[in-house]
Amino acid sequence: MFYIPFTCEKFFWVLKYNKSIKRGSLLKIIEVKNLTYAYAKGKEVLKNLNIEIEKGEFVAIIGHNGSGKSTFAKLLNALFVPKEGEVLVGGLNTKDKNSVHEIRKKVGVVFQNPDNQLVASIVEDDVAFGPENIGAKREEIEERINFALDAVNMQEFRKRTPTKLSGGQKQRVAIAGVLAIKPEVLVLDESTAMLDPRGRREVIEIVKDLNKKGMTVILITHYMEEVVNADRVIVLSEGEKILEGTPKQIFAKKEELTRVGLSLPPATILADKLREKGVNIGEVLTPQELKEELCKLFVKI
C-alpha cells in the first residue's frame, strides 16, 4: 500500500501553479536551446536539441541505448554544461556558476545506478544529505526524511546501511534521497528498472500524485507501459529529437519506433496481434483498455 502522509500537501503548496491552470500558460520551467554536447571532441552525443518543458508537465523521454538520455539528465541539473547552446531552469542558465546551487535545488535527478547516488553509511543520513545540502532546518529535515521514506516504503530500513541492501531496496533509497529535496522538477533516469512490479506501480503512483500537486516530472524509461502516463513523449535517437507528441500519437508510429530500437506497450502489441488475426478491436495503450475491448467482443457473441 502506498502511504502519502498529509504533510506532503504542505511540501508542495509552494508550487503555485497546479496542473489545471498550467495549460496554455507560458511558464517554461526548462528551456533547452540549440543544445549540443560531446564527451570527446568531434563525437557529439546530443545534437542541436530544442526542448521546452512547462511547469507541471509530465514528460517521458525514450530512446535506444546510447541515444543520450542520461547525458541530457545531467545537463538539466548542471552536472554538465552545454558545449553549444544553453539550458535554462526557471530562467537560470546552467552555465552561470552562481546559479548552480539554485538549479540543483530546483531539479532533482535520480540516476540510473543507485550506487553512484548513495553517499552515507546509514539510510536516514543518506536521505537527509540532500535537504541538509540545501540548508533546510533541523525539524524540517526530519519531516522530509519521513515523507520520503514513507513514499518509497522504506521506513523500516532507515537504520540500515545502503550498501547492504538488495538491488531494489537501494533504488528505493536513491529515490527517497531526491524526493527529500522537494525539487520543482523531478527527473527519474530508469529509476524503476530494479523494482518489483509493486514497487514500480508505487513509484509511478507517487510520481503521478506529485505531478498532480504541481511537480514537473521527467521520466526516462525503457518500459513503454510507463510512458502512457505522460502528457508528452520525447523520442531521442543518436542524440537528436526525432519525435514528440502525446503517448497516443507516439505509439501510433510503430514503424518509426521499431526503426530506432523502441517498441509499443505490451497491451498495444497484443491488440495488434489480434487485429492481424482479423479481430476487430479499438486502439489501446493499457491492460485495462485492452480488457474493456475484449469484454465488448465477448458481450457481442
Partner: protein, 283 residues
C-alpha cells in the same frame, strides 16, 4: 549439470538479515529457469551461492553437476569456467581499462589461446550483444551508457561459453530492441553450448514468455514453483507478495470473471490463438 540445493540457510553476518531460509530447489539440466519474487526476497543472495561467491551458513546439500560446493576441496576455478554469472548491476562486473580487456578477461584461464583466437572470440561476444566491435573495443567501460555497460557485462560472460548461465535482471537497462535480441540470443545459446539458463527477473511478461519453469521467492523461502502458467494462474494474491499477473494472466482472469474461459499457457501467441478460437466458436 543438475543443480541440487537442500535446506540452504544464509544470514548476512551473525546478527544480520537471514536472506535465505531453509531453501530447497532442484534445477534440471536443460531448463530455462526463472526466479521471481519481491524486492529483498533473497534472489540475488541465492544465485550467488551457485558459483561459490557466497557460502551457506547452513546447508544439507549443494551440488552443481559433479561439483560439491559444501566440500572444502571444491575446485571453484573449474566450476566458474562452467558457470557464467551476470550480476544485477553491470558496474559490479566491469573493471578493466578497455572494453576489449574487460571481455577478454574471462579467457585468461584458457592459457592455450593464441592472440588471434582471443581476438576472434572477444569480437564475436561483443557483436552478439549488439555492439559495434571497432567502435567500442578501446573505450573505457565506465564511459558507456547504462545499456551499453549491460551489454559489455553480458559479453564478458558469454565469451567463455559457459554451460550454465545465471543472469540477474539481465534485460534491465536494455532498450526494447536490445531486450528482444537478448532473449532470442539466450534461446539460441540454449540450443548450442549453454545447457541451463537461470534468470532472475521482475518482468512477469518475460518470465511467462520464455521460462520453462519458475520459482517464486518470498522472504527467503520458496513460495511455490512449477511451470509459469501454473504458478501465475493458480496463485491468488500475487499482488500482496509484490508481484503481478503478466498481461495475458491478467486478461485471462478478467475474462473468466465474465464467464469466458480461455485455455492458454499464457505466452502471447498461444493466448492470441486461443482467444481467436474462442471468438470463432462463439459467433
Amino acid at each position: 549439470m543438475q543443480i541440487v540445493c537442500k535446506n540452504l540457510t544464509f544470514a548476512y553476518g551473525k546478527r544480520g538479515v537471514t536472506a535465505v531460509k531453509n531453501l530447497s530447489l532442484t534445477i534440471d539440466e536443460g531448463e530455462f529457469f526463472g526466479i521471481i519474487g519481491e524486492t529483498g526476497s533473497g534472489k540475488s543472495t541465492f544465485i550467488q551461492h551457485l558459483n561459490g561467491l557466497v557460502k551457506p551458513t547452513t546447508c544439507d546439500e549443494l551440488t552443481v553437476g559433479e561439483f560439491n560446493l559444501l566440500d572444502k576441496k571444491c575446485d571453484y576455478k573449474k566450476l566458474r569456467s562452467k558457470i557464467g554469472m551476470v550480476f544485477q548491476y553491470p558496474e559490479y562486473q566491469l573493471f578493466a581499462e578497455t572494453v576489449f580487456e574487460d571481455v577478454a578477461f574471462g579467457l585468461k584461464n584458457f592459457a592455450s589461446l593464441t592472440k588471434e583466437e582471443t581476438e576472434k572470440m572477444v569480437k564475436e561476444a561483443i557483436e552478439v550483444v549488439g555492439l559495434d566491435y571497432e567502435k567500442i573495443k578501446n573505450k573505457s567501460p565506465f564511459d558507456l551508457s547504462g545499456g551499453q555497460k549491460r551489454r559489455v557485462a553480458i559479453a564478458g560472460v558469454l565469451v567463455t561459453k559457459p554451460e550454465v548461465l545465471i543472469l540477474d535482471e539481465p534485460a534491465s537497462g536494455l532498450d526494447p530492441e536490445g531486450k528482444e535480441q537478448l532473449l532470442s540470443l539466450l534461446h539460441s545459446l540454449h540450443k548450442s553450448f549453454v545447457k541451463t539458463i537461470i534468470m532472475v527477473s521482475h518482468d512477469m511478461n518475460t518470465v511467462v514468455e520464455h521460462c520453462t519453469k519458475v520459482a517464486l521467492f518470498n522472504k527467503g523461502e520458496i513460495y511455490c514453483s512449477g511451470r509459469p502458467s501454473e504458478v501465475f494462474f493458480k496463485l491468488e494474491g500475487l499482488e500482496e507478495i509484490g508481484l503481478e499477473q503478466p498481461l495475458t494472466g491478467y486478461l485471462k482472469k478478467e475474462l473468466e470473471l465474465k464467464g469466458v474461459n480461455i485455455e492458454s499457457d499464457l505466452t502471447v501467441d498461444d493466448f492470441v490463438y486461443n482467444l481467436v478460437k474462442k471468438l470463432k466458436q462463439g459467433s
